[in-house]
Amino acid sequence: MTQIRQSLVIALWFMFLTFPILVIRVNTIENIIEWRWLNMLYIGAGSFLGSFAWRYFLARKGQGTRKIAAPGGTAAAATAPPETGPDGNDLSASARSAGKSRTFPSIPEVEAVSAPADLGGVLTPAPAYADKPWLHRLLDSPRLYRPFLIALAVAALVFPFLPFASTYQINILTNALLYVMLGLGLNIVVGLAGLLHLGYVAFYAVGAYSYALLYYHFGIGFWTALPLGALLAALFGILLGFPVLRLRGDYLAIVTLGFAEITRLVLENWNEFSFGPSGIAGIPRPGLFGWEMDLHAATIYIYFLMIVLCLLTIFVVNRLQNSRIGRAWVALREDETACEAMGVNPTAAKLTAFALGSTWAGLAGVVFAAKTTFVNPASFTFLESAMILSIVVLGGMGSIVGVIIGAFILILMPEYLRAFSEYRMLLFGLIMVVMMIFRPQGIVSGVRRSYEFHRETGEKR
């Protein structure tokens, strides 16, 4: 009963809140006022039901925290506790404030890697936990995911030759793959190194414009421009990185955002350099040993190119994640001070994260320019950065599979549900808020490689 009353109050509050903006629309040209009372009804009903769901999920999340925190506190010293803390212990540096049970996960891991077997024990990769989500269990055992992967690969290869795959369909899929690449690149900066980067699109623009301008002035082709664009973007990343990396998280967010806006405004206003808002048209598609392709063939070609690039990205990011520098990033994300004390140079680690993240944006930018054959500053607004960020947030920060799934959901869904594409940005905003509150680790949380220490040589528990 109190629940219903509470929800009623909330519904009334939201009806009041949205009244002027949603109900009244002023047409200033003809001087008429439109009253849209129906909207008010929708809001009332929606928030009434929504508040129930909100409370239910909040309560469930609260329960989850208690359940996992209890065993984690006692057993933390011996084994690495569950990977997916409900409060996102894989997120960032608040570990200190969050209490002991959550500071521990990073310590055994860092030690485990650097202090090997001279204690008479053996480090073995931690076994799958019983309480791991089903997706992780699936990803852990090759027997389960291999057939799935093969099926996916076959589907991806056959897709462009299926009868229903029009140029448009292939283009959409290429687009999704492009965002997979961007998402994985941003994932290095945001997910692994924990630096909130709101200006990622600037490096995308650097890549796209470097191909466009190099072609325009020097006639440089796609294959030469691809590494050059990536290199230029990486250089820009380092250039931006040097001054701003001393800043704390939230300042960094604003400065990167400001940098992206500067880039866009310069591209828009510096007519002699970038041809202003009208952009550069007539950029050639990538060639294949001088073979002339029609539009459909070229689309398929770019699609396969994108698949290869995506595989390359996945491979590199995966290797990076488990490398020395990758572990340094994760340690940096968890606690910068502790990380510095362990001998990691934070500035160097952050700079590499910036440079590598920007490299992928540059690559994606070159492909984007080649795909659309046209670039202008309007493609590189803040909303684009926000979209890539919501891909990473939705998919799961630090998780490769998560980012791929996130990119496909967020790019393909608005394409196939046309009615819904108008509400796309509204939804992106909502996703960021809701995911942070209820599931900060994303759809698929990042799997941290963990080790267990056993005194008896080689014996597995």
Binding site: P20, S92, S94, P243, G258, E422
Partner: protein, 300 residues
């Protein structure tokens, strides 16, 4: 010299509006250490509410000062309500979460509110009626500034005085200062921290709404995107003055206003927004704690 004076006054007006918005940022940051990205959107909603209310009132046959005051009052109430609700939805559940989480949530909220207004209203620029009255006695005194400028400056100055009094001398102000210094300790001595944080958001939103109404009547047109740029600039002002410091925010806003005004006047008007960002980057590199901010030592 006349041109210089014109630019100087333009910068002053601009700066005082930035100050109204920057105060919201700086107060919220002071109390929960969060950049409230949605703050610019609160300002935009204030301007939109004022536009809608004044149009409805004009339709109903009201005119003159009553429209201005009613529209401003409704805008202030609604902005405060939005500020309060945004805090309850997007930030309160994340009090204990890692720093990155509320920040992302704030960005999401900002995008959400922008698109909510765009979908519910329109994506075009709407003409904003000039609500501010003419002040004929100014001409007689031989003052060269326009009436809107005078009103903006006066309103800003009055708001600042009120805010300072509120923070210095009331119970609520004391609670806010205590919470900003140490939230746990404030809780221990009996401050209702949640309520104090809500008050902070409400006060910040009220100031943003005042700024919204003023600048919308000054410029004469609004759309759903004005909050984004204004928000970033106000944030720049807050950082410039030293985030968390209230006089700092005002000083930073004035410096930013003058910088923009002189730079567009003497250099180039194409790059108006670029100057603000360059100033922000420079300040963060040279003096991250801002003009009046104290640099804090990170304790381990």
């Amino acid at each position: 010299m006349d041109y210089f004076l014109e630019l100087f006054l333009g910068g002053l007006t601009r700066g005082s509006i930035y100050a109204l918005i920057a105060l919201g940022y700086t107060m919220v940051y002071g109390i929960i250490e969060l950049i409230n990205f949605a703050h610019g959107e609160i300002y935009m909603i204030g301007a939109f509410t004022a536009l809608i209310v004044s149009s409805v009132l004009a339709f109903a046959g009201f005119s003159g000062m009553s429209v201005l005051f009613l529209a401003a009052a409704v805008a202030i109430i609604y902005s405060a309500a939005y500020g309060f609700t945004v805090e309850k939805i997007a930030y309160k559940p994340l009090r204990q979460a890692p720093r990155l989480s509320p920040l992302i949530s704030a960005i999401g909220m900002s995008i959400f509110l922008q698109n909510y207004v765009m979908l519910a209203q329109t994506s075009d620029f709407l003409p904003f009626p000039s609500l501010l009255p003419e002040l004929p006695f100014l001409e007689e005194l031989g003052i060269k500034i326009g009436a809107t400028e005078v009103i903006i400056l006066a309103t800003t100055a009055i708001s600042m005085v009120f805010l300072t009094l509120l923070i210095k001398f009331t119970r609520m102000g004391k609670a806010m200062r205590a919470t900003a210094q140490d939230r746990n300790m404030a809780m221990l001595v009996g401050v209702d921290v949640n309520r104090t944080i809500s008050y902070t958001f409400i006060i910040g939103s009220v100031l943003a709404a005042i700024g919204g109404v003023l600048i919308a009547s000054h410029i004469g047109r609004i759309n759903f995107y004005i909050g984004f740029i204004a928000g970033i600039k106000a944030f720049t002002a807050a950082v410039l003055g030293g985030i968390g410091s209230i006089p700092g925010a005002v000083l930073g806003a004035l410096v930013l206003g003058w910088t923009e005004s002189f730079a567009t006047g003497y250099v180039s008007s194409d790059y108006e927004d670029v100057f603000a960002f360059i100033l922000l980057v420079l300040i963060l590199i040279v003096r991250p704690s801002g003009l009046l901010g104290r640099s804090t030592v990170q304790k381990v």
